[in-house]
Amino acid sequence: MNNTLLWYTARAAGIVSLVFLSAVVVLGLLARMRVEGRGWPRFLTAAVHRDLALLSLVFLSIHIVTAVTDPFTALGLNAAVVPFGSYYRTFWLGLGTLSVELMLAVVVTSLVRRWIGQRAWKAVHWAAYAVWPMAVLHGIGTGTDAFTLWSLAVTIVCVGGVAVALMWRVDYARRDPLREEKRAAAAASTRELVR
């Protein structure tokens, strides 16, 4: 196999994964905001979020396998499995490893949500807010063409998209009329128990 092909495939798969992952984060935020349109029911946002996440895993696998088997960098399996276990750009690559492992945890717990229950699932799902930034930093830190125009453009669009969705989500939560009421009602019914 052509080394250059492996190298290009690794980078391409990495970038595609990043784009998909960014879309997954955005869709996840939109799903909580019950976004819908004509011909696009609410559940579809959540469903695409899920399916795209699984698809990202496919591209991530391609990215990892090609990166690891490329004889030029000779990263070895260690780099793919042990965070910060690579000699090559240790920190930035390690972020990628950590990010994938957390993502696997998120995906697996989501697949078995019915069995582990809502609370456990939610706790792990919060890790997603670590997965994405680590993936972005990994891309910037390890990518040899991280600072080419097109690569920067892709990164900016991804980061921008997630940032906008995040701000929208925070605003949505703040505007929720029920939140303050629930808190007040619970407070009115709560007392320190003297044991």
Partner: protein
């Protein structure tokens, strides 16, 4: 020969009855055993907290699940604003309540008793605490008195258990019901204070016991307050003893905010019997009998009550939070004779969507109250919505 035994009988009601007086008057409590359940079954005793559930059935359900670790929760929250009977029982006959709790604990094999009294009923709290001090060492060790937050839903059985467990008096999702898993995850018997007082009397007298019921009379009657009446006697008799109601044609709020409106003249003939009233589509509830004279507007009164019920919502379930509020606001608009187009239709539609859609029965109670209002004050509602005139004030002017 069946005998009627009264809660109120005994020393004057201006002070709590001491343990000595209680024992001298009534003798000792028989030891609990499964036979007590049969006695309660035969007496047909039903709970007095509002749901009128057969007491024997409840005790059996807890006893079956108890592994000597059940809990008895004495419910003296009395969050219903128009009711004063539970307070009266606690303040004047605390040992009847504690007897009932002790008997329940022995029968369902409970190790622990919690006395749950509304924090706003300070005298009742103090009396129950003091009365507990007069009891045996074992009772004192295994019983504690807790003050419930002064909120309507705090008296709901899962809310009471939630409070004992975590200090938050909000209802929880069922299943599991509290008789399955309650305080500390153990089978819990939640029983109203008046019910336990009746238990304490019925157990001493065994056999056929004809019951009494405590009613709280309020509104447009000369002598407001708690009355003890014979079960099966008529509501009219109770009203008579309270000196009222005076004029005809008004309405009665039966069962309190959790009950419903009844036409006063029709109600007078009805018996004070929870089962009978339920089969007739009404509810004795916690025994509140409140008289609304014909000169007062039923729509306005209903609006006020619904507004209060909406404010007292635990805010945990969407249909209750939004539904109750929307209904209360619409009925208020109708009461003020400035309704929006279609308000009455919307209210009727929403009232049918409330029942069974919350974690507890709070929205159901509000729906039942509203539906009774729509029936009893049908004319007023229509006149206010359509003609924007108040029938009640017209009646007063004409009188």
């Amino acid at each position: 020969m069946s005998v009627r035994h009264s809660i109120i009988d005994g020393p004057a009601l201006d002070a709590p009855e001491s343990l000595d007086s209680h024992l001298a008057r009534l003798g000792h409590l028989p030891t609990g055993s499964r036979e007590v359940i049969d006695v309660l079954d035969a007496a047909g005793l039903r709970g007095r907290g509002g749901a009128a559930f057969p007491v024997a059935t409840k005790w059996r359900a807890v006893a079956e699940r108890s592994r000597r670790d059940a809990v008895v929760l004495v419910n003296g929250a009395e969050g219903e604003p128009l009711s004063a009977k539970d307070r009266l029982v606690m303040e004047t006959r605390p040992h009847l309540v504690l007897d009932g709790a002790l008997l329940a604990a022995r029968t369902v094999r409970a190790r622990e008793v919690v006395v749950y009294v509304g924090e706003e009923h300070r005298r009742a709290l103090a009396v129950m605490q003091h009365a507990l001090g007069e009891r045996s060492a074992q009772e004192r060790r295994s019983t504690r008195v807790l003050a419930a937050p002064a909120r309507y839903v705090a008296g709901e059985e899962s809310a009471a258990v939630h409070f004992v467990n975590e200090g938050v008096a909000l209802p929880t999702t069922t299943p599991p019901r509290v008789f399955e898993r309650g305080v500390a995850g153990r089978p819990t018997l939640v029983q109203n204070v008046e019910t336990l007082a009746h238990v304490a009397l019925a157990a001493r007298h065994g056999g056929a016991v004809r019951g009494t019921a405590l009613l709280t009379l309020s509104g447009a009657v000369p002598r407001r307050g708690v009355l003890e009446v014979a079960e099966g006697s008529s509501i009219g008799e109770a009203l008579g003893r309270a000196g009222g109601p005076g004029d005809h044609g008004g309405a009665l709020l039966l069962g309190g905010y959790f009950g419903g409106w009844v036409d006063l003249d029709q109600a007078a003939a009805m018996p004070v019997d929870a089962a009978w009233l339920r089969s007739a589509g009404m509810a004795l509830g916690c025994g509140v009998v409140a008289v609304l004279p014909a000169s007062r507007c039923g729509v306005a009164e209903t609006a006020r009550i619904l507004g209060w019920l909406a404010e007292q919502s635990a805010r945990q379930c969407g249909p209750c939070v939004f539904g109750l509020r929307a209904i209360a606001e619409a009925v208020q608009r109708i009461a003020e004779r400035r309704p929006q187009e279609g308000d009455l239709h919307r209210v009727e539609r929403w009232s049918q969507q409330l029942a069974g859609r919350g974690a507890c029965k709070h929205p159901d109670g509000a729906a039942a109250l509203l539906q009774s209002a729509l029936r009893v004050f049908a004319g007023d509602f229509t006149m206010n919505q359509v003609r924007r005139t108040c029938v009640a004030t017209a009646r007063t002017a004409a009188a």
